[in-house]
Each structure stands twice: as C-alpha cells, then as structure tokens.
Subunit: 658 residues, 2 copies
C-alpha cells in the first residue's frame, strides 16, 4: 500500500525483463524511455537515474514527454563496464497548478485563492530544500500572495520556468515512485561495434614454400594485413596439437608423419591451452607479435576452443573432467552415427565442475596476462550457458575492455542467448542469406528490438569451415558482392584469408562447404601478389568504412525499394554522414532497375537535386526525387557505395533568385 | 553458479514481466509456452507446473516441442481466483541416448557399450524412484544388458515409450531448472467474458407518465429486459442525491424544486453510498429486485462512483478526506476553467488515506452483502491505481466471482493499466471506431498480445454520456449497424436503453455527444411498445449470441478482405462453430462487393461448396471458393451473420462416385 499515485511501465532499453543488460559502446548516448501514468488530470514529472556500477550515488536527468504518456531522457556512458539506470516519477502539483492558473486567468476568473494555493505548494518545496534555493522559493511564495502587486504580474511570475525547474528538484518523497529493480547497460569499447577482422593460419605464413609458418612469419605479414585496412588479426589455436588420432589432409583418419593435424585438436605432451605449438615458436615470439601488431594498429584475436585431444595433459591430470564409457575409456565427441575420436569434450556435469570452470577461466587469464584482449570463442553453444555467464562476468569485472566473438552456428535462440550472456560479437547466418528477401528479413530482425539491444553481428563471407555454394559457383563477382555486403551491412565483419582475397572457391567435394586441401589440416602456400587478388578492393572498402561514421554502426540501417529482385538498396546514417549501397546480387548478369528512395528518412529534399558520390568508382551522379535508375554489371561496377551529399547548389542559392 | 544446463525464456502467457496476471475464465484450457534451451545436442524435456493459489502442491503436465526450441503444455482452470504456473526443464540424457542408439544401430555400429550406458542411466532414474516404478526401470536396465537376448530386440526395448515416460518423472534434481518466480492467471466466471448488458435509469421506469420510477417499477420491467435476451441489468447510482448545488434538466445550474438531480452527485442528509434513494424505495425493495432478476436469469450491476455531493455525510463526518482551499472551503472538482461545484472528489493524498481506502472498500462490502456481484465503476482513472489494485485484490480474495466493469474513457495506457490492476471488463473506444480501417486496427490491437491477455472490452454503441455523431446522423440504420457490430465484435456488449432501442438520437446541442433532455438530470417517459423499436432485432441478435459459442469469446476474431471500404467482413470460431459477419458501415447507401475469405483459417475446402446460413434473415447461400459477392442495403438487409456450415453434400459423397 502506498499513496504515491504515479506508476512506471515499459522502461527501455530492456532485455528479457531486465535479466540481461543492453549493450552500448563508450561515448554512446543512452536514450531511456518509459510510460509514466497517474490517475486524474494532474501533471507528472520524471527523471532518469543512472550510475556506473562503481559509483555509490545516482545521477539524475530530467525526462520530457514525447507523447501518449511516454517520457524520454538520456545519459552518456563514459566508462567501460556496467551501468545501472531506472526512472523516478511523481505527481507534480506545482505544474498542475501552473497550468490551471493560466486557464482560469484567461477565462477571467478570480485567482486570488489559487495564488494562495500555489504559494503553499512553493513553501512545501522550500521546506524540503536549504540555502539559497529554499530562500528563492520562499520569496516566490510571498510575491505570489502579495496583493500590493498586480494580478497579471503575479500570474506571469507563477509561470516562471526557472522557479518551477528549481522546485522540481525537491518533490514530496511520499509521492515519488521509483521503478525497481534498476536495469543494466553493459558498455564495451568502440571496437566491439566497429571492427574489420582478418583470419589467417600461422602454419601457412611461411615465406619459403613448403615450410611450417611461424609466429615470426606472421609478424612479417602484418604490413600486408594492415595495408588492406584490417584492425583485428585472428589466429586459429596456436597450441600444441594432439598426436593421438590426429587427422590428415582433407580430414582423413590416420595422419601421415609430418601432417600437422587440426589446430582445434588441442593438447599434446608439449602442453595444452596455455602453451604455444613449438613449430610456431615461443611465448616470447607471441608477445613480440602482439607488440608489432599493436604498432600498426592491429589487435591479435586468439581462439578459445574448450576441448582436448586425447593426449592433452588435462586428460591425464584431471581425468574426473571427462565422461567415462562403461569400458573405462574416455567418451569422445559424437553426433551419432558420426564419431570424433580425436576430440574429448569436457564433462561439465561432473562432480568437480567448479574446479573445471576455474581452470577454464585461468586459460583466459593466462592469455590476458600476455596482452590479448580479443577472443574468438569456438563452439560456445556446446558448453553450458551458466559457465559463459560466469566466466565472462569474471573476465570483464577485471578487464571490461575484453571482446569475445561467439562462433555458434546453431539454432537462432541459442545464438541470441549466448549474446545475452555476454558475448560482445556473434557470427550469424549472413553466409547463407543471399537473396534480397533473405537479406532484408534477416537484417531487419538483427537491427530491430529486441535483438539489436544485445546481439552484435559480425559478418563473414567465408570462414575455414564455410565456403558457401554462392562463392563456389559465383566466381569472382560473388566474392566482390559478398565482401561489399559484409562490410556495409555490418559495422563488424571479417574474411578468412588469403583464401578470400585470392578467390579460393574449390570445395573438398560437391555439396560440401569444406575447402579442398583446407588449411585446417595442412599448410598452404599462397601467392599474395597474385594480380587477380581482391586486396585493392578490400583496401578501398575498408578505407570507406573508416571515413564514413554511417558504416560504423548498424543502428540506422534502412532498406529502400527497388523494382528488380536481383538488386538491393540500403542506407546507413550517422549524424551528417549518410551512405547508400546499391548491390547487384546476381553474380552472372548485368541488372538494372529503379531505386525508390525514402527521401524523408534520408533527410533529402523532395523537389531539389542531391549529389551521389560513388565511393567505389569515384563517379558522381546528380539525382532528384525518389526514383533513380541504376545499372550494375558483375564484371564491371557490381555495386555503388554512394555518399549522399544533401546540399547541392542551384540557382536558388544566389541572392538574386526570387 | 549451477551445473544445470537448461535455460527457460519467453514464458507465456505473461503480462508486464509477470507484474500482473493474465486473465482467463472458468473451464479455460491455458496454453503455456516457453523457449527451452540447452547447450550442445542433448535432448531436453519440460513440464508445466501449476496450482491454484489455495493449493500447497504443484501439479505437473509434460510439455512438447512445437518447433524452434519452443515448448507447449497446458492445464485447465477449474476454480475461481488466482492460479500460479511455471515451467521446469532439464537435459534428458536417457532421451539423447535413445536417439543416438537408434542411429548407431541403423549405421551398423557395435552398440554393446551404448546399451550399458543406457542401463546405467535407467538405474540412476530407478534410484530416484521407489516401489513398482523403480522395479520396472531396474528390470529394464537388466534386460538392456542381458547378452543372452538378441541385439535387435534390446534396441527395440531401448525405445519403449512407456519406460521413457516413466523415467522422465524422475530427472536428476541437480540438472533441473525451474523458471522463477512463477507467473499468475486470474480466473473469472464465464460471464466476465460473455455478457449482454442493458442500462436503465430507475427514475424513468414508472408505469404512469410523469411519476418518479421506483425499484419496484424496475422489477415490473424485468420481463421486458429478459425477453430481449440481456443477462445483466445495470442501474446508475441508486443513492440519495445531493441537494446543494444540484443540477437541473440539461445540466443547468440551479435546479428547480422537484428536479431530481444527477444520480452521480451522491449523498445527502438521507445518506450516502450505502443508502437507497427514498424516491426509489428501500433496501428491502432492492433485495427483492435482485431476487426477481435472478429468477429470470438477470444479474443486477450496481454503479460505484467514488465522489460526493457537498451534503454527503462523509463531508461532515470525515472532513480530513477532502482537500481544503485556502479559505477553508472544500475543493470541488475542476478541469480548469470548468468548475463542478456539485462534486467533491476524495483527497487520496490526505494523511488519513488508509482509513479512506478502508471506508471505500466497505461500500463494496455492503453491496456484496446485499447480493450484488457485478459493479460498473465510474471514472476509475480519477482514483489512484494503487487503491484499485488493493481494493480489487481484497474483494476478490473473498469473492472471486465479482465482476468489475471499468468506465475509464481516457488515454489508452491508463485504460490498459486499470485492466491489469484487476478490472474484469472495460469500456473502450468502440463508440468512435466507425470506419473499416479504424475497426480493423482497433480490434486487432484488442485481440492480440499483450492486450488480449488482460483487457476484456465491453462494446457500447451508446451510454448516457455518449450519443455519437454516427448515431445522431445515421438514423435507424446506424443503430442497426452499431448494434450488430457491438454484439458480434464483442463477446461482451451493452446498450443504454430504452434510448437505444427507441432510436433516440437528438443531442443537447450541435457538436455535443450529450442527449437532449438526458435522463441524467430528469425523468423520461418511454414508449417501450413503439412499433419502430429495435427490440425484435436485439432479441434475435442476443439469441444468435447464445446459440453460437463462436460469438462468446474474442480470441479467434479474424478480419477478411473486402474490395469495398464501406463493407467489413470478420469471422469468429470456437470448435466446430464458426460465424462470419458482413456489415454495411454506410448508413445511407446500399453497398456491394466481393468478400475474399481466408478459407484455410476457417477450415473450409478450397474446391468444394460450403453453405452459409444467414442467422439474421434465415436465408441460405451456397458459396464456393474464397471470393463471393455480397450486397447490403441499410434499409433492408444491412448485415449478414452467417453460420458457416463446412460440410455440404455433393455427388462425391455417394458410394458410386469414382
């Protein structure tokens, strides 16, 4: 029971009734909205309260009504980690009085009693304040009821916004209602939202053909990666690789001597998740690579794959962490009838699960201590949700700058759950969304509430596991199209190279998405200077991304109509910057059509020309009105990336016009 | 930290994150859904847990997967009041094992070890059970590993649904996750959903012209109301009416002697909210009316209007419940610059608010003690939300059969909040939704989640306060159309009579929705036998409602396309019963067009005829396919109410066909 008459509903941003935080990046302005309702016709007032988790005191920001009982306020997040926020509201008698007084005065009614009522309210506010503020409200009250002053003058004084603003700081605490419990915002650094990833197997980094690449070889390739404009270099696991049940090239059972095996079969007598594979180098080499990468603006992302080869030291040292079969052997990974005898999963339901969790956390801690701040997590959907929530919470408590990319190609709700639990970025279904309808539907879902509040997609045209049919059959134009889609639909994207820029499109077998002679099981020699390489296009696209804030967030993605199913048009905006992409999805034929722009959404005039600068080709077009013609040829200009220049000079700009 | 690997999301039905119950009526089957997720590829299982608030033990019902990780289960509500429910889920190792075993066996793999694993799992389940159930599982385990038995036979045994069903009753408690806290369902009696209201002023019930009607006169009119098929008779306030500042006919200030005043200006020296107006009769008369009404299947609904005339006894006995102006006078109701000096609102923010709440509750208690179980609450949106939540909770704890109709014509979120707080039915914007687009949009909102979970609309074409322009200018056809819309779009509806059936359409002044010579301020003499009365149509419509379960709920409302903006088509279904309404919204002209039925939604064949029986006219039509022609004349057949007869005989029904 309470006599506070105001209620608060529909507080946003909110994920799963507050069970999870919404995610933002440093410097973001968080817009908070809520429905604030009271009985009757009285005015209400509301404030956003917010604080960083590390602060003891709440900060308040007044909210304003945006219509239909919905109020809005905002605050800016300046510190990494967790913020809390809520809304406080109350019936604002002084404001109700002000409004009523004005209407009565206009209607010519006697307002002497009303002025006395207002003075009493002002004095009540003064009684809850001290010092000069209280004095100002008291003086106001006296002036309102001073009959030696003119009535009109006192009605004007009653409307003083400054004094009402002052009084609003001290509502009657018995009438204030606060939404409980507060909601949370998790703040990441800006690279969590805007990043360009390049994946590379160190084993294939050797400068001399046939040799096993090393971390030092990777170091020599940093200028190559940096020149293309990538800012994250992701390495598959760099740990010792199991020798028991090792796989040969093209995933053959029974490796031959010298076959390097899969880097995801982690652990051998040479060490486990905290060791560096001797063929790649030493921990010192790794730290030097980190430093060299940092010097050219690149962060190294490490792979975390929580599973073991049969000869991983954990299997011997902690047998209780692995499920035993009735014959005493360790249960290998299975997806019946398939068997993966080279991989032992951890048994998360074992009695010693707490020690297992702690050890796995120590793997993160170890690499964080080496300087790593970005992790790509392999198959997180095959480890318990509760583990991820705990371990990510622990990691980010000490290191809120850590970024984790979830590699969970699984059912949609499981992928979303992992993001809610704390993964900063997520792989997603982009590789298989190729038609216009598929792309519009999927990216509308990803950029709408609730998904956009917690899930940050990272768009990969290819990975070592995914060579899509679109890439297999579409030739070079397919690679161009998918690159441009990934880099402009997604503020974060990545490619697995050099397979990508060298247009590697041979599958292991028909119907498979596996690469032929995949680097997962063998070294590959790549000709990075191949004149057919897409590296110049990649360089240009990444520069366009850096120069256009519109492409650095997915918040304002908008699709525009086109009358050709093979052509897709979408825009992104950020402040003054606006980019329109028009892409030919057909890798085989030239396509043409009319794009029908939503001019109002782009802030473009309905009846004046505007300039479209194609950032890919350098060409410039003068458009006017919503409908404009486009022709795109997969072997020539396969896409336009227009920067929209809203203001074009016309004769009307001259003084003498009119 | 927990090692339970399953999580539960998106539990429905759910209102405002569980802050409020969803509403159902007695006998309803509640469909519960939830997303159940676990890591990896293991099978999961889930149960609905439910109990009436008065029960100590949960009941369990197994759920089944309906796709995309969503599970569904159900239970039936058999008791009035509050039910609680939640979902429990767990990783089902035995089920994972069963599926894997079948695949391995099919692939010809050796499954002896797998049978041992399954036997161990079965024994674990047995260990958590007792008696014959435990014994059955133990025997099963032994049979699975009995090598004297054939392998195929044991694989078959492993699939036994009966034994799996048994085992599923005893999951490992360490692996079980339960969604907390439980959610609530509030169960009303069936009349909360399906009711036909008739509003009547007792003051105009007199059989002799010019006399003040009495409760005894109302009693004599019961057969008239019952014959039309209404089951709720709602009376405006029957209490003594204030004499101070009393209003005269047509809301004139300054009543003449003999003017009866507004029944909503409650209280005089003759008593307040617990008294009967002496001109109407006595409390004994009221109890006799209740009994007589009950005998003809009618419930009496009483008006609860928490406000006072200046001479209400409360003003003298509890002055602390009213806000004082600076001159010591009591603050009357205001909507500046309008003043309502005949009405004193309660001051809910007074220091004595708890005593005020208790007294107001005692008003309900008093009339419940007389036998009233339905209340129409006047302007609940001008009394605090917290009060309503408390008082309705208290009333329904003792009398869960009580129905409360909220009369809050105010902003949409306030109306919804009141419903969430416990009002059983609600007035709404139906009176002002006249065009096809308005009707489709509004009723789609009302019958979709989340609104349909807590808000039950009651549709009134008119009230003593609302004579819409549509009725003022549309003549008799407008009354016919609005009656049919109210009675078929809404499982609950009502009319204010005899103004409605006698097609009273004169406003007090142009642009006003007030009736001329409104019964709110004077007696009226009505000719209930007027041959122009709509009573026969009302009688027929109410009979159609009683005979068609489809019209007794709003859950399955569906709009169908029509190519004429003046014609609207919608269906409702319940089990085998399906009704299609086609209504001409134009009260001035005949309109024709093609209705385009969603045959699949109606369970109709695409390529066979079906019969449409017009329940209003008795005419029968044979339709085929989705598109069918309709012509409706406002002065003839203004609407069709078809019962859809899905099965029509054709020559194919004969044995010799083919």
């Amino acid at each position: 029971m309470t006599k506070a008459r105001v209620v608060i509903e529909g507080l946003t941003p909110q994920v799963d009734c507050g069970r999870f935080p919404a995610r933002r990046v440093l410097g973001d302005t968080v817009s908070v909205e809520a429905d604030v309702l009271a009985d009757g016709h009285d005015a209400v007032a509301a404030s956003v309260l917010y604080r960083h988790e590390s602060e003891a005191q709440w900060h308040g920001m007044p909210m304003s009504l945006i219509g239909n009982d919905r109020w809005q306020g905002q605050f800016t997040v300046q510190t990494l980690g967790r913020y809390l926020f809520t809304v406080e509201a109350w019936v604002d008698h002084l404001e109700s009085w002000r409004r009523g007084l004005a209407k009565k005065h206009e209607a010519g009614q006697d307002i002497e009693l009303d002025l006395q009522q207002g003075a009493a309210l002002a004095l009540a506010h003064a009684g809850r304040m001290s010092g000069p503020d209280a004095r100002r409200l008291r003086e106001w009250a006296h002036a309102l009821t001073n009959r030696t002053r003119d009535g009109d003058e006192r009605v004007l004084l009653a409307q003083s916004e400054a004094l009402h603003e002052l009084a609003r700081r001290s509502p009657d605490p018995l009438l204030v209602h606060r939404a409980e419990p507060p909601l949370a915002i998790e703040v990441d650094r800006r690279r969590a939202r805007f990043s360009s990833w390049y994946e590379m197997f160190p084993r294939s980094a050797a400068s001399r053909s046939g040799g096993h690449g090393t971390l030092a070889d990777v170091e020599t390739l940093l200028p190559y990666v940096a020149s293309m404009g990538f800012d994250v270099l992701y390495l598959p696991p760099i740990h010792p690789i199991g020798e028991v049940e090792r796989k040969g090239p093209n995933n053959r059972t029974g490796a031959a001597p010298g076959d390097p095996g899969s880097p995801w079969a982690i652990g051998s007598r040479e060490g486990g998740h905290k060791a560096v594979h001797p063929s790649l180098g030493t921990l010192a080499d790794f730290r030097r690579l980190l430093a060299s990468a940092g010097a050219v603006g690149i962060e190294i992302a490490l792979d975390i794959a929580f599973q073991c080869a049969p000869d991983h030291p954990y299997v011997r040292e902690h047998p209780q962490w692995f499920l035993k079969r009735p014959d005493g052997s360790v249960q290998y990974a299975e997806n019946p009838p398939k068997k993966y005898q080279d991989i032992y999963p951890f048994w998360f339901e074992c009695d010693d699960w707490q020690a297992l969790w702690a050890e796995l956390k120590s793997v993160f801690d170890f690499w964080i201590a080496q300087g790593v701040r970005i992790f790509r997590v392999d198959n997180p959907h095959t480890k318990p949700f509760a583990f991820w929530e705990w371990v990510i919470g622990e990691i980010r408590r000490a290191h809120p700058e850590v970024i984790l990319l979830s590699e969970a190609f699984t059912r949609p709700k499981v992928m979303y759950r992992l993001a809610k639990l704390g993964f900063t970025q997520s792989y997603n279904y982009f590789p298989w969304r190729n038609s216009k309808r598929e792309i519009i539907d999927y990216f509308t879902e990803l950029t709408s509430r609730p998904v956009c509040e917690f899930f940050r997609p990272s768009l990969w045209p290819n990975t070592p596991d995914i060579l899509t049919e679109y890439l297999q059959f579409g030739g070079r134009p397919a690679f161009v199209t998918r690159l441009i889609l990934a880099a402009t639909l997604g503020a974060s994207y990545g490619v697995y190279g050099p397979a990508f820029e060298l247009v590697e499109s041979r599958p292991r077998e028909s119907g498979s998405e596996e690469y032929l002679d995949s680097e997962k099981y063998q070294q590959r020699a790549w000709n990075r200077d191949d004149p057919a390489s897409l590296k110049d296009l990649i360089t240009r696209v990444n520069r366009i991304r850096r120069e256009n804030p519109a492409l650095q967030s997915d918040a304002a993605l908008k699709f525009h109509s086109m009358d050709n199913e093979a052509l897709i048009a979408y825009s992104k905006s950020s402040g003054e910057d606006a980019v329109l992409a028009v892409v030919n999805l057909d890798p085989h034929h030239a396509q043409s059509g009319w794009v029908d722009l939503d001019l109002a959404a782009l802030g473009l005039p309905a009846d004046a020309p505007y300039q479209m600068d194609d950032l890919l080709s350098g060409a410039r077009f003068l458009w006017r009105g919503p409908r404009n013609y486009v022709v795109l040829d997969p072997w020539g200009t396969a896409a336009h990336l227009f920067r929209i220049r809203r203001k074009v000079r016309t004769e009307r700009d001259f003084d003498y016009f009119l």
